[in-house]
Subunit: 108 residues, 2 copies
DNA sequence: ACAAACCATAACCAAATGGTTATTGTTTGT
DNA sequence: ACAAACAATAACCATTTGGTTATGGTTTGT
């Protein structure tokens, strides 16, 4: 598995509006910019810019369909965050270690 | 366990210098501001300000000892981040669920 | 007693950030 | 054909952010 810097992911998720958009896409699935704009409570350009940031962090993908653009969450992009937690979240380390060992033995 | 907003934690970890300080404290244990300043490669006031931000997110604790202040990581404060991943990192959810179930059965 | 060490705070600054309105390019419906 | 809908970009603005140097308050070593 390719290792990606955690930095863009942390930066992208640091903003509440952006995190809210990602959460909404995770909960409700794919949505247009229009729908997301209604949801987010900020202007459409603001939403577009936030989506661009999320896109650079690979947290969302987009799909053009006619005049509308559909965005969907790509939660695999959270992997760097999980990796980071494994390395520096000492409190969780034992948990993760045990987990990985177990999962290893479970699915070969 | 008290539930804290994930926002200060995300904000605090969004900056590379701050994340680096937290990582250093996690790896090497408790350290003075002086030592951290040598490590971070920025001025001492910059380090102090970063530590203040980390402190507000509960990611570090400090202990005055004479004229020096010792800081140490408090990785339990990463809990909101883990919680958030559990809720919105759909990709990881199964993993977490299986983990928890397994750990449950392991240590009673 | 006093100079030096340690750290926090103040004052300041340039750059980044998150928002806005205006505009433009497509696509769609009539 | 054309007006309206959708989304991205541009231009702009206020605030926040991350850094600096300067200063002040304790504590320590001599």
């Amino acid at each position: 598995m390719k290792r990606v810097s955690a930095n863009p992911v942390f930066r992208a998720l640091a903003d509440p509006t952006r995190r809210s958009l990602f959460e909404e896409l995770t909960r409700q699935g794919e949505q247009t910019v229009h729908a997301l704009t209604r949801y987010a409570g900020v202007s459409q350009p603001a939403v577009s810019k936030h989506l661009t940031v999320l896109k650079r962090a690979k947290l969302v993908r987009h799909r053009r369909e006619g005049r509308e653009t559909h965005y969907r969450a790509q939660p695999e992009a959270l992997a760097p965050l999980v990796d980071w937690l494994e390395h520096y979240g000492a409190f969780w380390r034992d948990r993760f270690d045990r987990l990985e060992a177990l999962l290893e033995r479970m699915d070969p």
